[in-house]
Symmetry: C2
Subunit: 355 residues, 2 copies
């Protein structure tokens, strides 16, 4: 059995669950490598791992799975009512994903598989996904490399007069022509005063002299995401912006100094909040988040999270300051947590970049 | 109050529901025009329509809503526990979207708003969305126009040696540079034998002489989708393909002759199935589906649907024949249902197109 499913089974056992129904395609991808676009569900029964899918997907799924996975692929149309009711026979508590499954699906699963007690699992797989293995880290590294290359290209592409939308489209094309399968999320290109809105959607605004240009972008490689933000400048940097930029950058770098295994997430976030407050600014969003098969994963990095960084987590570090109607500065890297240090996986220039 | 919310209230009343919690952002967009990317929920209470959202979205939401909507916008952080419990006070049955709300959200909604009975609503808003108004039809028409223009452009762009992926990317760029805000769905470009797989993902395969090229594409305009498929040919058409193409086209055109208000969905689908069977082929997917804010909406057009076409539905008509390992032919239009006829909204050439 592959080690990810084995680890999940151990955890289920410790929670006194005799099995689990995995419906979230991202969790299925994590456990089996089956493409999230394929429709099916994974049943972790007492003795077997069963992937139920439709006829048209069987061939594709069989190509993806390896013998090591120990997953039995079954065509849904071959499963009689009785067989369905037998998968979890004599079981008391079967886990399900209460944050993914709709109310209607919950009812149908319970009935179809005749389950006594559908038990909430509180992100059991999402928690396991926080710690990345070598293959996962390689995929994220590759996505980050493509992102760095894209940034380098943008420095030659962006000129006065191009619009935010044009830059966003250029980023998407670069990603897709350079090995990424998709965007990791909708690219943010926010220029001039638009940069003061943290989740700006690219508009038809043209880049002007002295604009700050905030670019938040990432791509997917083998399903794994990258996430990087840089704030660059057209022609020159307004003097009033420099101290704000310096403050954001200093904090971003301090966090990199501190991020490592067993360090407290809350404390690191609080230190940035305090530093901003001391200078009369506020950190109005989280300091970061996990990155993997999804762009936003556990852990959330903010001053409410009582947990600790662990080796082989991949997270973002993205402090930002926003002055409404004027400008915003955010600097973000995707970072790998190591035992006694951390490794930024995105490596583009963070000093003043004027184009 | 806007007429869409008024119609929903009438329907709720007839179902003996004293209110509804609308969580699905697409349904909220339909009722209020609020962008689906904005996070919030719409409470239809006995006397009021309340949109609950976060501070950062308030300004944007207020810009979108009109006085006619009669929707009160409330910042979630200003709602105390007591106020939340008062929204549905003295109510017995409050509707919710059982096909959208997760099991966890269901529990939280029930508790936060202290609801006696959360009642399933069986797609009440999705059913209302089947009938489009003038503004919605205009948006879909516009998306279809851009799609037709894109097809015209492709005839000059596609050459021997370009890959399926390159064509798909070119389509996306054309859409985004010509007024569409996004793709309506992942474009299918399936060439040569790949065309025999109905849901092919564009690959690095290069277009070759005598290839059939199946292109299924659509874009979004003001949130509304278009959907069109054409199968075209590189250089020449293999003689064995012609009778299959003719059979698909004849059926697609017959359906257009029959589609109109009050015609039976089942019968129209069955006639295509029978015609294919008579020629030793099978219709292996539905004949079509509704199109609107989502690419796949109600009604499903297949031989199991007992309902009838209604005036101002917008649906697809997309028969296809697939010979595994050899080739596939699909021809699809987005179509507006009228009282005594129907109007194809996508208008690209359906005869033999050889490039």
């Amino acid at each position: 059995m592959n080690y990810k499913i084995r680890a999940l089974r151990e955890k289920l056992k410790s929670l006194k669950l005799e099995g689990m129904i995995v419906s979230n395609p991202i969790n299925i991808k994590y456990l089996t490598n089956i493409d999230p676009e394929i429709e099916g569900i994974l049943l972790i029964t007492r003795k077997e791992n069963i992937y139920l899918t439709y006829t048209m997907f069987i061939e594709d799924v069989n190509k993806t799975l390896t013998i090591d996975d120990e997953i039995i692929v079954v065509d849904t149309r071959d499963v009689s009512k009785e067989e369905a009711e037998n998968f979890f026979v004599f079981c008391e508590n079967i886990g399900f994903e209460e944050n993914y499954v709709t109310y209607e699906q919950f009812k149908r699963l319970k009935q179809r598989y005749r389950i006594n007690n559908m038990a909430e699992t509180d992100g059991i797989i999402e928690k396991q996904r926080m710690i990345k293995d070598e293959q996962e880290i390689q995929n994220i590294k590759k996505a980050c490399e493509i992102t760095d290359k894209c940034f380098e290209y943008l420095l030659t592409y962006i000129k006065e007069g191009v619009t935010e939308k044009e830059i966003a489209l250029e980023i998407e094309m670069f990603f897709k022509k350079n090995g990424a399968e998709d965007l990791a999320f909708d690219t943010i290109v926010a220029s001039g005063p638009n940069s003061s809105i943290p989740h700006w959607k690219p508009s038809d605004r043209k880049i002007q002299m002295a604009d700050p240009i905030l670019i938040d972008m990432g791509c997917k490689y083998n399903g794994y995401c990258s996430d990087m933000t840089r704030t660059i400048f057209m022609g020159c940097i307004l003097e009033e912006i420099k101290p704000v930029y310096d403050l954001v950058l200093k904090n971003q770098q301090n966090v990199l100094e501190e991020m490592r295994s067993n360090y407290n997430i809350k404390n690191i976030s609080r230190r940035v909040e305090d530093s901003f407050k001391f200078n009369n600014y506020n950190l109005i969003h989280g300091l970061g988040h996990g990155v993997g098969l999804e762009i936003h994963e556990m852990p959330n990095i903010n001053s409410k999270n009582e947990s600790f960084f662990k080796e082989d987590m991949v997270v973002t570090n993205e402090p930002g300051i926003y002055l409404p109607g004027k400008y915003g500065i955010r600097i973000e890297d995707t970072v790998l947590i190591n035992k006694s240090y951390c490794t930024p996986l995105t490596k583009s220039n963070k000093g003043y970049v004027v184009i």
